[in-house]
């Protein structure tokens, strides 16, 4: 087959984008809820919010580079996207384990996101291997 672009990766990237919007809004809402219901001092609220915002800022170029790399069958943008994915995974693990309050819903959302990242990374590696060869 002449088409090297990976269809599953494309679908996954697309779904990831939509899910990430929902994830960002839900996590932000839950941080607001936690700050009202529990005792959430300012010096612990700031790092949590900063991590969430950083993750949101990273997600946009990551998805864009992933789309672009997959569609143009270029391995450089895909590789860059893979690098950014590593950063996002680290931030996601922080929100899963080292947040001030980890609610059950937090755990669920982060676990889903982490599995999506894992699957994506695997597909990207396969696509890069296909493009390079």
């Amino acid at each position: 087959s002449s088409q090297l672009s990976s269809l599953p990766l494309q679908i996954l990237l697309y779904v990831n984008g939509i899910y990430y919007i929902f994830y960002f809004l839900a996590t932000l809402a839950m941080i607001i809820y936690k700050s009202q219901v529990f005792s959430y001092p300012d010096d612990l609220l700031a790092p949590d919010l900063a991590v969430l915002l950083l993750m949101g800022i990273l997600e946009v170029p990551r998805l864009y580079l992933g789309f672009k790399g997959n569609l143009t069958e270029a391995e450089a943008p895909l590789g860059l996207s893979l690098g950014l994915t590593v950063g996002s995974v680290v931030l996601c693990v922080y929100l899963l384990l080292w947040q001030t309050y980890v609610l059950w819903a937090d755990m669920l959302l982060n676990a889903v996101l982490l599995s999506a990242y894992g699957l994506e990374s695997g597909l990207k590696v396969m696509a890069i291997a296909a493009f390079v060869s």
Binding site: M30, Y33, V37, F38, S39, P41, L44, L97, W98, Q99, T100, Y101, V102, L103, W104, A105, D106, M107, L108
Partner: protein
Amino acid sequence: PADTRDAAQARARRLPAPVTDVARLCMCDLLVAQCDINCCCDPDCGAEDFSLFTSCSVPVVTGDSQLCSQKAAVYSLDVEANPPERIFQLIDQVNPSVFCIRSTNYKQALYLKSPEIPTPENFDRLLDEFGGAAFSAEPDSWNLDTDAPNPPDANETHRYEHGVPVHTEDAFLRLPSPVVSSWCSDANPAGFLVNQATKCIRSVSVEKCDSIQALSMLFYINSSILAVPKSSQLVNISVRSVAVQSLDGTRTLLNSSDVLRLPMVVDELCLNAVLGVNYHITHTDTGEIIEAAAAFVLGAISKEALSIEQSFEISFTQENTQPVPLSGNPGYVVGLPVRAGFRPQGYPSPAGFLSNKHSQLTILQSTSTQDCLAAQGARAPVLFGYNMISGCKLRITAATKCQPLAQTLLDVLKGQSFPEYVASFGNSQAQAVLDWVPITQLHVSEQMISTTLQSSCQIPVSLGIEVKWTKYGSLVNPQARIVNVTATITSTALKQPPSGRERFIPVTSSVVFTDISSPAEPGYKAWPTINIKLPFDFFYPFV
């Protein structure tokens, strides 16, 4: 040595660690080393104690219920078993909510913060933060808010209000009074419109009597009173009268009161020492002081005296009014004298009743000698709500004449000017004639059936005043109102003893206050009605 002392101090500064294990926590364990009743988690209770419990006051001990899964200690009583025994279970409680806390990286989140132990370093900061009446997160902002409205108020007309200390040039007008013991304390300020009379003991010595400030007249009149607080208008305290009391107690009023008499030592006596001060402050109805006068009683202190009793009084009168003290506003206050008066000649008169300080309702006051004829003049005012009984003994011999004796006894019982009317409210004005209740006078004579009904002369032996009062006004704030006053004079026949012998007859007078108020009936407002009416042309054009 120093390091162990530091270690001990460091240990003392730390509070004991909080207990977080639910199996060891017990909220109802209040008594130390004793079993608390119905407390199933108390470790001091044994099996015999559990068999006497009826229920568990604390059934479950858990941590924060927001956690997704936590340990819970469940205590219950098995009443089926004989004897009843306590069941203790440690179970895992699960919170089914999606928003339960799975884990937290913030240790103090679920526990109360341990308070800081005050040390010499942080004491000032802790006092600033927690020393006030309310803990505020930002104490500085509170101060700024309360300072702002005050400066504009300072320029407005400040005035004295009831209870506010009377300001003088340097501090406050002082009325020395006994504080904890009977010794005089000079730090008691006189409150505006608070009439006070105090007596206290001051320690003196004749050698130093001209150096003790509190014995000299100057101490009481040298600082002028401010007409209104925080103003510069001064009112000087003038000397109204000076009375000199000799060592045996007789007082003479001096003619000239302008001369300031300071204490001086003359042959082992200290003369002109202040024994009493009576302040009279005149004020306007807007709370401004316009006049102040002081009446002094000066006395002599002998060498043996180590302390003297000083008495102080202050009274406030409004300008252009006659000072008639109210006994309540409007209802009578328990403990204040019952106000009484006379109907002047030529009633009805526009002035109303005559009521002043000399027309009080009084009863005979018992004296230590208990002799009726010697005690003439000593009378006690009738205070509202206080039932009183007093009496004296009358000595009669064969030579006593009946008719003058009856007249004397009537004077002893009723006093020189027995009033005719009593004010029904504590603040009844003399002009309001309907507010005054006439005193009904009854004469009852004791006639014993066995004695012969000869017209022997009767002498009054008892006066009983019965004051009937009722609660008047609203249910939550009833006012006392006098409805009826009856003065009953009981007379008995004079039985003269044989000559050479004497008899003692007891003479009594009493005041009784009876509450005749009918039970209160609460009145309820009518339920509001819903008034719905259709508009006039609602069914146009059918109607």
